[in-house]
């Protein structure tokens, strides 16, 4: 094994969750974040499928990293990712048929999800199995967090449910109906709601990051 010069396993793991969060910091994997984030069930399934593919391909690429030819590496990454995505897709169709139908083309589209190919290139192709797996877990958690945060806002505001469970109220009351009922907030269910939610949440994340950087600078100045 060649000497590892990259970040340690722990750093890789922690970085994936917030400091290098795929959705909010790297702005990767935005297509599924927008497309399947109107229900928590869809978001969690998508995050699970991405986690499986990311773990599998990071592990395999890390194991064969010394055999990679620089000009053929992207081809090997894509091949590996495509194989794991197909397994995930078939598994969902066999054991979670309704969910597989709901996610439709977005499961096969994980093949072109930039998070996975980016992790292969940045981490797995350069580091050992330990950091590569830690990286995969961290990034998967980060992606799940990103998806779940968008889906929570959209499902609660759009359907008035969370994980399909009725919360008892919605944002839009249907005043014409007697007894009064609530109606879905359609824009939150449709793609525009995803863009609005992602934009606002990213603003919040940037605000937090900004405040943290400012605090660091202040305390750093004192020392």
């Amino acid at each position: 094994m060649s000497r590892d010069t990259g970040p340690t396993s722990l750093e890789r793991f922690i970085n994936g969750i917030l400091p290098e969060n795929p959705t909010y910091r790297q702005i990767l994997g935005i297509c599924p974040s927008l497309a399947v984030s109107n229900t928590m069930e869809g978001a969690v399934t998508m995050a699970g499928a991405v986690a499986f593919v990311l773990l599998g391909s990071n592990l395999l690429i890390s194991l064969i990293r010394h055999l990679l030819k620089p000009h053929l590496r992207i081809l090997v990454f894509t091949l590996t990712i495509a194989a794991f995505v197909t397994i995930a897709d078939r598994f969902l169709a066999a054991y979670m048929y309704d969910m597989s139908k709901q996610l439709g083309p977005y499961v096969p589209l994980i093949i072109v999800n930039c998070i996975i190919i980016a992790r292969c290139e940045i981490c797995a192709a350069k580091q050992g199995v330990g950091p590569a797996l830690a990286d995969a877990v961290g990034q998967s958690l980060g992606f799940a967090l990103g998806l779940a945060s968008i889906a929570t806002v959209r499902e609660i505001l759009g359907f008035g449910t969370w994980f399909g469970k009725w919360l008892g109220w919605r944002v839009i009351p249907d005043l014409s109906a007697q007894p009064q009922v609530w109606s879905n907030w359609v824009i939150m269910i449709l793609p525009p709601g995803a863009f609005i939610t992602l934009g606002l949440l990213m603003g919040v994340m940037n605000g937090i990051e900004h405040a943290r950087a400012a605090r660091l600078k202040r305390t750093g100045g004192k020392q």
């Binding site: 990679l68 091949l79 194989a83 078939r90 598994f91 054991y95 439709g104 083309p105 096969p108």
Partner: protein, 190 residues
């Protein structure tokens, strides 16, 4: 060796073969389950595709497998034909409901499609599918861009002409196949 094509590409070849074998194994293991899910999904749709039907069962006519739609007393009231064909992005699988005498389309349901999200996938929209309801099966259906003026015309999905033409083509050929199979059976061994 180092600069030969094989020397460069052997890893890709080995990985392709290994992944190919792995995927074949996965497909062989999971396929019966997936087929079962599809059958259940198809039978669940029968009451919505054929008026008056409450259930159905698979039936083979010649080489064609179709679902016989039955009412509460188990009397046949129509047919549901599973059919597939190439769409714009990938194969489209759908179910066509027709009445007992195969004179009229009574419903359409898309089982599987991977058409362009936001454009082609509108073929699954109920409003679009409902256009097929009540169409005579005498002549092949056609896709038009404007609102249909004749019974055989179906208005295509905006921005998804190829998907629309595919669906209409699959419906036409499914109906034709069922008619041919039924005619064969009627005129066959008796």
């Amino acid at each position: 060796m180092k600069n030969s094509y094989i020397g460069q590409a052997w890893l890709v070849i080995v990985l392709s073969l290994a992944f190919g074998a792995a995927l074949a194994a996965v497909q062989a293991t999971l396929d019966p389950r997936i087929a079962q899910n599809k059958l259940r999904d198809a039978l669940d749709q029968v009451p919505r595709l054929v008026p008056g039907a409450t259930g159905g069962r698979a039936e083979t006519i010649g080489e064609l497998t179709v679902y016989r739609a039955t009412d509460e007393q188990d009397r046949p009231v129509g047919w549901v034909i599973p059919a597939r064909g190439q769409g714009f992005a990938d194969v489209i699988e759908l179910l066509v409901g027709v009445d007992e005498s195969v004179q009229q389309v009574t419903g359409l349901y898309i089982l599987k499609q991977l058409e362009t999200p936001g454009l082609g996938d509108n073929i699954t929209a109920e409003k679009w599918r409902n256009q097929f309801r009540g169409r005579k099966t005498g002549e092949d259906l056609l896709v038009t861009k404007a609102a249909p003026t004749r019974d055989r015309e179906i208005q295509g999905v905006t921005g998804a002409t190829i998907s629309s033409v595919s669906v209409v083509g699959i419906v036409n050929s499914a109906v034709t196949k069922l008619r041919a199979a039924l005619a064969d059976r009627a005129g066959g061994p008796s």
